[in-house]
Symmetry: C2
Subunit: 198 residues, 2 copies
């Protein structure tokens, strides 16, 4: 019978923090063990390898992120598609702030490197991205039905909007520019990309 193991959760929590602060390679198992207050062996008792631990962090992020999106869509009503799109962008930016560390981790390159020869990792990334993009896509589809959005390739426009929003998040995390100040311009740009000119 499985007994409860609070240390497993603690390890996952500290690993998330350290990986996103310092990256995969600059975080040693010994660092994580120290931060958690656990022996190194304990980490390997719960996770077969460092890479598996790293993937467990991604996996947990994925489930929490996707469920937060479902909750968002289930609990909100929108007047029209364009409003839904704007609300989705705002919600997305909120999430990136709330789950800041893990979005940073997502933007780091190492997951993409692992994904090259690890299908599981690739699927996690794909799931995350498609769930992000699909919110925008659903809004565009709705908007095209109610004519608040002009007829365009929904998939492609959703990708471009996603790219735009996610690019801002990246500029922010890298601290290259103050992305906050771009919020109004972002919304306005999306509107002119999509709005029916009636």
């Amino acid at each position: 019978m499985q007994r409860s193991s609070p240390k497993k959760d603690a390890i996952l929590r500290e690993a998330t923090k350290l990986f996103s602060e310092n990256g995969y390679w600059d975080t040693s198992i010994s660092d994580i063990a120290h931060a958690t207050g656990v022996a190194e062996g304990t980490i390997f008792y719960h996770f077969h390898s460092k890479e598996e631990l790293f993937l467990a962090v991604l996996q947990k992020f994925k489930t929490e992120l996707i469920s937060s999106f479902h909750q968002f869509l289930d609990t909100h009503e929108f007047a029209d598609g364009l409003e839904m799109l704007e609300a989705s962008i705002t919600f997305y930016l909120q999430q990136t702030r709330k789950m800041e560390e893990r979005f940073l981790l997502l933007h780091r390159h190492h997951y993409y490197q692992i994904a090259e020869d690890n299908q599981k990792c690739w699927h996690h990334l794909e799931d995350i991205y498609s769930s992000l993009i699909s919110i925008f896509e659903q809004a565009i589809i709705k908007g095209q039905k109610d004519c608040s959005i002009k007829p365009v390739s929904t998939k492609n426009k959703a990708l471009l909007i996603f790219t735009l929003v996610d690019g801002l998040v990246r500029l922010n995390t890298y601290k290259l520019y103050r992305a906050d100040e771009l919020y109004n311009d972002l919304i306005e740009s999306c509107r002119s990309m999509l709005q029916s000119t009636t």
Copy 2:
């Protein structure tokens, strides 16, 4: 007196290739030495450390990239600002294809990590990004003078356009989506973001 050292160039060339293929941590000095056909010691004769070699790759990229932009602007005439912007986007996408490895390296996260406590690295990144963004900005300024582009905050719009274009490049390098197919939508979106509605 300094003698010519073809091996230094060869090291830099192979390092660029290996770093962009496998990343910083998965590329050892011994790998680079083997690939170049040089003893490990030779690398440390020319570069004080692995990190310095990594930065030398960035430095070289920066100078070549910036000079290619200057050449582009010096040798082209544009009917109006909007045309200049479209041409700049096309040129930028061309460059990312021509310097594919190095753009991949730029998108990898490790430079940003080093930049956190290495001013030199931070300046390289800043120079690269501002030179990229300034092309778009110049086009927008020109377009506002000749009224092909509506009056907007040039800096912010340039950032958003950059974000959009660069996002596509990233989607491409990560092979998450076929970004080629988005080219037309990209241009069209930029146009509706900027075009005067006259």
